[in-house]
Structures are given as C-alpha cells and as structure tokens.
C-alpha cells in the first residue's frame, strides 16, 4: 500500500450551490453557524415545499406523485410485455460494497450518510430476497483504505442485517480497486448459471488505490461481473467508467428519499443478457412441513426437535429450515412459495385500457354500473377523461384504485380468473 495515488476525479455540480459548499469547507461551516441556523440547514425543510401556479408555497402533493409513479411503472410493464418472454436473471449473486470511509460521517443526510446507507441497505436486503428467491448476497465494507468482507454470500437476510448493524464505524479512505479485487476473487467461484453483480454505495469523492484501477475494471469486465454504483456526493468519472465498462448503472442520489429509490431499483432482477449466465435445469425438492407438536430428530443438527421441520421428499430426512441442501441425499430443498413469489414477473398481466367515451353511447353495450373488482359504483361518463378501465381479455370494468392494486400488488385480473375460457382452450 506504499504506492498510493489518488485517481483523478471529475466532479459535476448536481444539487446547486449548497451541496458543493458543504463538501469544500465543511469544518468552517459547522463552526460558523449558529445552532438555530444548523437546525434549518440540517432539516432542509424547503425541500418539502413546492410552488403553485400563483407563486404560493405549498407542501408537495403526494397523491399526484403516487399516480405519476404508477403510470411510469405501467409504461415499463407494457414495454416488457410487448417484447414477450423477457429473460430475467433470477439466480443472482450480489455483493453490496458499502463505503464506511470518513466521507460516511458527513451529515448532509441525517444522522449521517453511513447510518442512512445502512438503514436503506437493510430494507434493500429484505426486498431483494423477496424478489429474488434462491439468490445470494454478500456484504463488503470499505474503511481505512482496505476492503473487508463482512458476510459471505448467503441467502438469509437476517444474518447480513445483524452483521451490518454491528459495524457502524467510519474512518479513513475508500478504495474502489481493493473492493473490486476482493469481489472478483469471490464471484469467480460461483456456478455458471448465476448472475454476478456488485452494487457499490459510495460516499467518498475519491478512491485511494494500490495500483492501476483500469486493469481491475477490465478484469471484472472479463469475468462478466456487472458493477453498479449509487453515489451520495457528486458524480465521479471513475465510477461512471466502471459502470459503462461492465454494463451496470451509475446514479447519484440528490437526497435520502432519492437514494432509497435508487437503491431499491436494483432489487428487481435485471434483464438477463444471454451470454452472462449459462441456463440450466436444477433438480430441487419441495418438502412438506410437519405437523406442530411432532417430535423428530433433524438431519442438520442431529437433535430431537418438537414441531416445525420439513421432510426431504427423496430420502424422508428431517431438516429444520429452508432453503437448504439435504444432508443425507444432497437434494436442494426449497419452499415452493418462495419460488412462486417471483412468478408474476413471468406472467405479467396486460395493461388495462381506458374506456373510450364513444363506447358509452353504444346502445348495444350495457355498461356495468360497478367496478368488477370491488363493487364500487363507477361514475357515468362526463367530459373528464375516463374514470374506468377495462381488461382487454375479459372486458370487465374496474375503478382506477383497483387498477393500481391489481397491477402493483395482486398481479391477477379478477375478471380473467373468474372465467373458464383459459382452461378450456388449453385442453
């Protein structure tokens, strides 16, 4: 580590003057400000206001925001369904690299960047395992110029979160190269059908490396490791270069809620690029859960246990937890609901169409008075844009609230599920 040099950094202003000033003379700022001034500077209360058409300040309207978000996701959904049968990399091996250098002490996001990052990593890990069953996560921290492996690749969210929350100390410099070298070593060993990914949450504005980072980037590119970075300060050239080379995405957060959004964008499986992973059929068993109160000896701990437990369908051995590998016959055991959580990605339901006002005047069509889903009365046509939508497959009408619920959470069309034409055509 004697031959350190700092990789050149290209900064770009992202969030106006205030952020820039804080980076430059943070020390001076903190001393120069009165306590009451700091309270305003820390809370950034102006960010939750917006100007209306007459120039008055109003709190940000959340309902319009929510609707816009829904529309955006709907558009993405219909784009996905038009390119039918999109491949998704559903078995992912992801290392999360967290910057715990001294830059994580910065308090522009309260209580500090490092603590906020840890908080959202926790939420991310839970969401990740929800959306990517059978995937693995490992955690790496950057501190004092070195990269350290906090947890090995594993499928249990709680062990990662526990390890992370016990290690919230920030000091020294961050080194991108050390992180990439470490990750590269680990990810090179994983099975060929797995998708190799790194998500770097970077607070610092520089990287302090022992050698030429460009070589390391090329090494990652060769090993097909997809590297993505979410920055917390300004955009850096080296991060952008890394993501461009390896096919990842680079984003910089403006504030805490934006950071959360950017991190969670990495939870859904990315479209698989055929060359990135070899597809395979893996044999698996779906064990039954034993009745509560039954006493049996488990194969994994070799202890007598009361209740719970699962039975391997091939050798009938008892295991305590899923997913696991049967200790006796080696079969991979998973809980089938765990797999089924991701099936709505495979069979997305079609976007509902707004009911055109012309069809209201059609005497042949008797318009339903209520929403098929929730029985809410549907308003009759006015001059306003349609307040009802219809499923193109079953032609049932739904209210807008049901439309959102059906596409965002339920992933079933109640109309299509309540008719039998689907089953009959399969015969």
């Amino acid at each position: 580590m004697s031959n350190k040099y700092i990789t050149s950094v290209e900064e770009r202003r992202l969030n106006g003057e205030d952020r820039e000033d804080e980076e430059d003379d943070d020390e001076g700022n903190e001393k120069g400000m009165e306590a009451w001034e700091r309270a305003y500077a820390d809370e950034r209360s102006w960010e939750s206001l917006q100007e209306d058409e007459s120039g008055l300040l109003r709190p940000i309207d959340n309902s319009s925001l929510h609707h816009a978000q829904y529309r955006r996701r709907l558009r993405a959904l219909s784009a996905a369904s038009s390119t039918a049968r999109i491949q998704k990399g559903l078995i992912r091996y992801l290392y999360i690299v967290i910057d715990f250098s001294r830059a994580a002490k910065e308090m522009d996001i309260r209580p500090s960047r490092g603590v906020v990052v840890a908080k959202h990593v926790e939420a991310f890990i839970r969401e990740f395992f929800d959306q990517n069953p059978l995937s693995h996560i490992g955690l790496i921290t950057l501190k004092d110029g070195i990269a350290q492996c906090l947890t090995d690749l594993g499928g249990s969210p709680d062990s990662h979160i526990k390890a992370l929350m016990g290690k919230l100390e920030f000091s020294g410099d961050a080194s991108l190269q050390n992180a990439l070298d470490l990750v590269h070593g680990y990810l090179n060993q994983i099975p060929s059908y797995g998708h190799r990914e790194v998500l770097i949450l970077y607070s610092a504005l520089s990287t302090c490396d022992p050698g030429d980072i460009m070589d390391t980037i090329q090494k990652c590119k060769k090993s097909k490791i997809r590297c993505s970075v979410v920055g917390l300060s300004a955009e850096m050239y080296i991060c952008k270069h890394l993501c461009q080379e390896t096919g990842g995405s680079y984003t910089v957060a403006l504030d805490e809620s934006h950071f959360k959004e950017l991190v969670l964008e990495h939870a859904p499986p990315p479209p698989a690029i055929a060359e990135f992973a070899v597809s395979n059929l893996i044999k698996m068993g779906f064990p039954q859960r034993a009745a509560e109160g039954v006493i049996s000896i488990c194969a994994c701990h070799k202890e007598a246990k009361v209740g719970g437990g699962y039975t391997c369908p091939r050798c009938k051995a008892r295991v305590c937890e899923l997913p696991t590998e049967c200790q006796i016959c080696g079969l991979t055991l998973v809980s089938s609901p765990h797999l089924a959580r991701s099936y709505h990605h495979l069979f997305p339901i079609t976007t509902f169409n707004e009911v055109a006002s012309s069809s209201f005047n059609n005497p042949q069509h008797k318009l339903p008075k209520t929403c098929f889903g929730c029985q809410q009365t549907l308003p009759l046509p006015g001059k306003k844009p349609s307040l009802r939508v219809a499923c193109p497959k079953c032609n049932q009408h739904f209210c807008l609230d049901c439309d959102i619920y059906i596409h965002e959470s339920l992933h079933n069309c109640p109309g299509c599920e309540s008719q039998n034409s689907k089953a009959v055509t399969e015969e």
Binding site: Y193, L410, H411, P414, V424
Partner: protein, 303 residues
C-alpha cells in the same frame, strides 16, 4: 361504505369475506361417493347462513360479504353494508337476510350452470383464484376509506379439489393478502386436504381446518372461525397438521414434490426438458445437482 364512516371501530370489529364453493360436480357427487360424512348443499348453506347471522349479531358494526366460487364464474352474493331497504321487512331482519342470500345464490348457481352448458367441456375445479382476487379487491376498497375500518379477514369454504392450473394466480393472491396483513382462514369440507389453502392459511397466519364431522359444521364455524383477530392471540385455535408445500409443474399442471427448476426464470418442470417453455432458454447437458458441489464449502458456515 358511505353508510358507516362516522362509527367508531374498536379492534374487535370484523369484516368477514366468505367464499362459498358452489361447484356442482362436488355437491352433486358428495352424497353418492362419500356416504359416511355426507353433507348436502342445502344443509351446508343452512349452517353457513346461521353462521353469517350470528357474526352480524355478535357485533352490530361487523360486516359480512359473501362471494360465490363457481366453476365458470365468481360473483358477489351479499354485502351487509349495502343492505338497508330489505331489513325493514315484516318478518324481521334475519329471515329477510337469509332469503335474500338464498335467492342470489340460486341465481348465481343457475347462471354458472348455464355457462358450463355453453362450453364444450366442463371443469371439475372451482375458480378459487377468482374469488380470492375479488375478496382482496373488496378489502383494498375498505382500506382506502381511511384509518378507521373493520379488521378484514377471508374465510374459504372449499369442497372441491385444487385446480393445479390456478397455482400461480392463487399464490399471487396469497402473497398480496400477506402484504396487506389479511389472514385467509380455510374450512375444507371435501374429502381431501387442499394444498392451496394449507399454504394460504400458513403464509397469511390464518386458521386451516378440515372438520371431522360435517353434520356439526355450524359448531366448527362458530367456535373457530367466528373469533375476531384480537381474540385469536389469547385463544388456542387448531394448529395445522402439516403444510403441503408441493408445487404444480408448468408443463402438465401436475402436483409434484420434486422437480427441475429453470435457472433463468425459476419455472418448475416435472421432468428434464431441452428448452424452457416459459422463457425459451436452451439447457445444456443435465447437471442434476450442480449446486451441491461448488456451494458446499460456503454454505456450511451459514447453517
């Protein structure tokens, strides 16, 4: 919903959505094949009506919604929050309510039967995924009314066997119920256990029960399924006798306990295929347990 916004809901006020299986293949066959524990559709409905009436008598603010699960359609039968006119009839509330539910149910069953005549081949499976989806949409509407609403739960009264082709849709509904913290209770009146409902109740923390003696159905309903969510924490309710976690294969819609998983999209197949029918990936030579060799080293310290 508009009729009850100002009332104060305590935490023992329930919204109970009852899904009634009206499958004619099940109800028509049950008397002939399984004479020992037989239950005719009319006796079944009589038990359920008494149960619904007793729920509404337990707490005036409680609400009951009835949805019929047919073989070709699903529909709303009754909603206690939207019934105001009929309750003033001369015979009193309960007979009026019962006859109204019976009338709507009769209409539904004959309409459902009409649909199966139109189709070339009738199915034996009830559309559980449809009625579950309807129930969840209704419950979301209650959630939208604000923070004050009755505690919702779903009760499935299921007789006919699971329809394996509904596997994905039923699982989607279960996960959505879990996310909104809506328990799904199941009372299975058929001759065999339902793997769908075992999983539904297990995942959503509802109660799963397959009564031993069907002539005492009302007893089971009123002692187990009438309990509100608050009381459940202090009661000893029946514990599941195991959960069937078997899945349906995508190729034949067969229920399997061992199978092959596509590593790209996680589709389940009952035997080895050359190409994934869901995502189109072409598989190399069979690596039956490829994970066991390379993963072993890393997995052991986690266990």
């Amino acid at each position: 919903m508009a009729s009850v916004p100002s009332k104060l809901y305590s935490d023992d006020v329930s919204l109970l959505v009852v899904l009634i299986d009206t499958n004619p293949f099940f109800w028509g066959g049950v008397n002939t094949t399984n004479a020992s524990s037989s239950l005719s559709f009319s006796t079944f409905i009589a038990h359920v009506l008494s149960f619904i009436n007793s729920i509404l008598l337990l707490n005036q603010l409680s609400q009951v919604v009835v949805i019929a699960t047919g073989v070709n359609s699903c529909n709303y039968i009754y909603d206690s929050s939207s019934q105001t006119v009929t309750e003033n009839s001369e015979n009193g509330i309960i007979p009026a309510r019962s006859s109204q539910i019976l009338r709507k149910l009769e209409e539904f069953v004959s309409a459902d039967e009409q649909l199966s005549k139109d189709l070339s081949q009738a199915r034996v499976f009830s559309l559980l995924s449809g009625s579950l989806s309807l129930a969840l949409c209704y419950i979301q509407r209650v959630f939208r009314t604000g923070s004050l609403h009755p505690q919702p739960r779903i009760l499935c009264l299921q007789g006919s066997p699971d329809g394996p082709e509904q596997y994905v849709a039923v699982m989607n509904a279960i996960f959505s119920a879990q996310r909104s913290m809506v328990p799904i209770d199941s009372c299975v009146i058929g001759s065999q256990h339902s793997a769908f409902l075992q999983q539904a109740s297990y995942i959503t923390a509802g109660v799963y029960l397959k009564p031993q003696h069907l002539d005492g159905l009302f007893q089971y309903l009123s002692t187990v399924f009438a309990t509100d969510l608050l009381s459940r924490s202090v009661l000893e309710l029946p514990k599941p006798a195991g959960v069937d976690f078997r899945a349906s294969c995508f190729c034949h819609k067969k229920t399997i306990d061992m199978g092959y998983i596509c590593s790209v999209c996680l589709s389940i197949f009952c035997k080895h295929h050359k190409k994934c029918s869901t995502c189109g990936s072409v598989f190399g030579e069979a690596h039956p347990e490829v994970t066991s060799t390379s993963d072993k080293k890393r997995k052991t310290p986690m266990a």
